[in-house]
């Protein structure tokens, strides 16, 4: 897929909501909150990710794909047909919006890798890995096609426009999810490209992110060593793959992964009790190239929860709040108050200290 040669740089505002009891809410809420932070974006990108929106297809990978032209669609579908059972395919419903004159061709597919493994190109891969490979393959090899969402019972909706325009365009008020994340973007050097908007997703990981990761160069090379193809030159792509590597492939829990990405300082590690010191020292040694350095706040959604955290010296803002079983995280407190005027608790997480929220057992599935 086409992309700018230079590394993507952008500033942003972000918001996330999770209902721990799995209660689903309409996309209208998150849009309202995100619109309050319009000044954190510049209209060159906005997007949302929602979990729990496709309950009737919850066992299928939901591929959201954008095409520059129909030829790319033909090539992609040919590849999908060979390797996947396609339960349903349809255009992603959109509505005409004044500010959005041009947009890619948008389709979604509910698919399962073919059970006959011999039919697949790479027979030995487990389903998730095979889907990751498919996403990498389509995005890097089929010109004009870009998979922007590939998880189960979740989806990303994003494009070039202001948050309210993108929400109306994708008719988000018609979707109900138990986790929502939203992002308004202020890119400084990427011409408006729909795939470049956030959230960035892979399987059921979705990332929205504010700030620039100054360690991008080595984070990228580190991931490449594990077979990730970084085609977008965005920090958010890096974050998504780092989580995929550390959590899904290496089996670290979310909290340990966040600790590696925004690691404690040696000064503090040296003062820890022996066991913790050994664990943290090893974490920094082994995952040093994964350390995300520079300013960021990140919301990381997955089908069972939402994680928010910021960099090790807190150069980007993050505020969290709770109200009953709902947890909110945003760049600004006012964005939370816009949809929750009297939260039970509001706090600013400390540098590198993740806020980890998980669904109650059995909810949201």
């Amino acid at each position: 897929m086409s992309h700018n040669f230079q590394k993507d740089i952008s500033g942003c505002g972000l918001i996330g909501i999770i209902n721990k009891d799995g209660k689903r809410i309409s996309g209208g809420f998150i849009c309202k909150s995100l619109c309050l932070m319009n000044d954190r974006g510049n209209g060159l990108g906005a997007g949302y990710a929602a979990y729990g929106i496709y309950p009737e297809y919850k066992d299928f990978y939901a591929f959201h794909i954008m095409y520059d032209e129909l030829g790319a669609k033909t090539d992609t579908e040919e590849y999908l047909k060979k390797n996947y059972q396609i339960e349903k395919k349809e255009p992603i419903p959109t509505a005409p919006v004044e500010g959005i004159a041009i947009h890619p061709i948008l389709w979604r597919y509910f698919v399962k890798p073919l059970p006959e493994k011999a039919e697949r190109e790479t027979a030995w891969l487990p389903d998730d890995d095979f889907v990751v490979r498919t996403v990498m393959k389509i995005n890097s090899e089929i010109d004009g096609a870009y998979v922007f969402s590939s998880g189960k019972n979740m989806g990303a909706f994003k494009g070039v426009g202001m948050p309210s325009e993108i929400a109306r365009f994708f008719r988000l008020e018609e979707y109900e999810g138990y986790i929502w994340t939203g992002h308004t973007r202020f890119p400084t050097n990427t011409p408006g490209w729909w795939g470049g908007a956030h959230p960035f997703t892979l399987l059921d990981w979705s990332i929205v992110h504010n700030g620039e990761i100054s360690s991008y160069g080595i984070n990228k090379r580190y991931l490449e060593m594990y077979g990730y193809k970084l085609t977008l030159l965005t920090d958010t792509e890096v974050v998504t793959y780092l989580f995929d590597l550390m959590v899904r492939k290496h089996g670290l829990d979310a909290s340990t992964a966040c600790t590696a990405l925004a690691a404690p300082f040696w000064k503090n590690i040296d003062d820890m009790p022996e066991d913790e010191k050994a664990a943290m020292t090893a974490l920094r040694m082994v995952y040093g190239s994964a350390l995300m350095n520079g300013p960021f706040s990140i919301l990381f959604g997955h089908s069972k929860g939402l994680v928010g955290f910021n960099d090790r010296i807190k150069l980007r803002p993050l505020v969290a709040a709770t109200k009953g079983k709902t947890v909110y995280m945003a760049s600004e407190e006012s964005a939370i108050r816009e949809i929750c005027s009297s939260p039970d608790k509001v706090w600013a997480p400390r540098a590198g200290e993740p806020v980890i929220v998980e669904l109650e057992t059995g909810k949201g599935q």
Binding site: L36, M37, D39, K267, N268, D271, I313, K314, P317, V319, E332, E333, S334, A335, R337, E338, V346, A348, R350, A351
Partner: protein, 246 residues
């Protein structure tokens, strides 16, 4: 008294209304239903008192020179950025980078404050900026401090298990005074900081500052001063004199 309903109003319109009112000599303004509007009080001069109902947005009171802002709730980041004079009273918490390069006036916060509070505050001649925070503070409190007064009170004590002040306290400090209510762990301080007890003169100044603070929040100075303070001052006016080769 002029009341402006800020509900759903973009900051440019809101602040322009405020500027108009102030230029017409309005001495008391109430902003209702504020939520997230940036730059309230930005660059404003005069004697006006503006009361804000809701959570104001970033850069509140930036470059402000005179007015008093009263915020009944929490406030966000970058409050009092390069503020020249006047006063901001916040009944809730305040965010990060509070009073960056502040040259004068007062910030009184009842609750907690974020990271890099009082960063590079500076005093000159009669200008002496003061920030008093009633709760706890994050890392880099008083970073590069070059003048003025920072006071941290930790009034709500054991509300949570976070330390009253974060790491890198006063790192790069080369002017001004920090008063901390309670004990200070030397390990948290930058190398440029000296910790001492207060002398009579210090106590006199501190009391003056606190009396004004207590008036704003209906607190009692004696209650606050019952717990001992530590004073942090720069060990040198030129902490990096030996760093360079000529």
């Amino acid at each position: 008294m002029l009341t402006i309903d800020a509900k759903g109003i973009y900051y440019r319109e809101l602040n322009s209304k405020v500027r108009d009112a102030v230029s017409k000599g309005e001495k008391e303004i109430l902003l209702k239903n504020v939520n997230g509007q940036y730059y309230i009080g930005d660059g404003l001069r005069g004697e006006t008192t503006i009361t804000i109902d809701g959570v104001p947005g970033n850069d509140l009171a930036a470059f402000m020179d005179g007015p008093t802002l009263i915020i009944k709730n929490n406030a966000q980041d970058n409050i009092g950025n390069t503020m020249n004079s006047g006063k901001v009273i916040i009944h809730g918490n305040a965010g990060d980078v509070l009073g960056y390069g502040m040259r004068g006036g007062k910030l009184h916060i009842r609750g907690d404050v974020g990271y890099r509070v009082g960063i590079h505050m500076k005093g000159y001649k009669k200008q002496n900026p003061v920030i008093i925070a009633g709760g706890k503070a994050g890392d880099f409190f008083g970073e590069y401090m070059a003048g003025g007064v920072l006071i941290l009170l930790n009034l709500d004590g054991k509300k949570d298990d976070r330390p009253m002040v974060g790491d890198y306290l006063g790192t790069g400090m080369h002017g001004g005074i920090i008063f901390i209510r309670g004990d200070v762990d030397k390990k948290l301080c930058g190398a440029e900081v000296g910790i001492t007890d207060l002398d009579n003169e210090d106590n006199k100044f501190l009391k003056e500052y606190l009396e004004d603070y207590c008036k704003d929040f209906n607190l009692k100075t004696e209650d606050i001063m019952r717990v001992g303070f530590k004073k942090l001052i720069p060990a040198s006016l030129r902490p990096y004199g030996n760093l360079y080769a000529y």
